[in-house]
């Protein structure tokens, strides 16, 4: 299934992209999505490795199966608000 993933902050800045579309299996876990993002965005590899995936505004665990989900995917690198 094709998933569109929103990018932010350091990842957006390094890639010049505010989103990226990737192909993942329906039973792919969040970790698999993160690994695929790391493969496609090698300049942000170190940052993606410490990022979390969120779907529809909620963080998902790295072992959750998310490939089939229809919500909005976002890659959330470590935050620094405040």
């Amino acid at each position: 299934m094709k998933q569109r993933i929103l990018l932010f902050a350091g990842v957006r800045s390094a890639s010049g992209l505010d989103h990226i579309d990737i192909d993942v299996d329906d039973d792919a876990t969040a970790q698999v999505v993160l690994d695929e993002l790391e493969r496609q965005l090698p300049d942000s590899g170190g940052l993606i490795r410490i990022s979390r995936l969120a779907i529809d505004g909620r963080y998902v665990g790295n072992d959750e199966q998310v490939g089939h989900c229809s919500g909005e995917f976002a890659l959330i690198p470590p935050v620094s608000g405040g």
Binding site: L6, F8, A9, G10, R12, S13, L47, I50, R52, A54, G57, R58, Y59, G61, N62, A74, I76, P77, P78, V79, S80, G81, G82
Partner: protein
């Protein structure tokens, strides 16, 4: 969202005076506010002093509002708070101006005093907002702290 919580992302300067009245509750004897302000100097671990020229904040806005609202709900559940206000500014936040304002009201002061640091810690751990430093030498850097408890 009932009127006990007020969550806003704004693009303009944050004026405490605009938000002050939102904490009013006749059964609360305590109101407390915290403002995080763009600071000029940062001491690094190796003893250097970095000089900030300006900060720029970016958010995943819908998720940030949702996470801030959940944070406020959890704070109201954990402490005896009747009102919580959280305002975060996005875009450029010049030196001396506030990037975040948090307020709470409680019957007794101990709850306000305990809640404010708890809320700020959680904001800094979970809410999808990021800052980009521009230093005095014009170099820039997105700030992505190493997670303390990687999950």
């Amino acid at each position: 969202m009932d009127d006990s919580r007020l969550i806003r992302l704004v693009n303009e300067p944050i004026r405490l005076a605009e938000w002050e009245a939102k904490l009013a509750d006749i059964d609360c004897g305590a109101q407390a506010w915290f403002a995080g302000v763009t600071r000029r100097t940062t001491e690094t671990n190796d003893g250097q002093t970095l000089l900030t020229k300006t900060l720029f904040y970016e958010a995943h806005p819908t998720m940030a509002v949702g996470q801030l609202d959940q944070l406020a709900i959890d704070a109201i559940g954990k402490f005896e708070l009747r009102r919580v206000v959280i305002v975060h500014r996005l875009g450029e936040v010049p030196l001396g101006e506030a990037s975040v304002l948090m307020g709470c009201a409680s019957p007794h002061r101990k709850d306000c005093f305990a809640a404010l640091p708890w809320m700020m810690d959680r904001l800094k751990q979970e809410v999808p907002i990021w800052k980009r430093e521009t230093f005095q030498d014009e170099s820039t850097e997105w700030i992505h702290p190493e997670p303390r408890d990687p999950t």
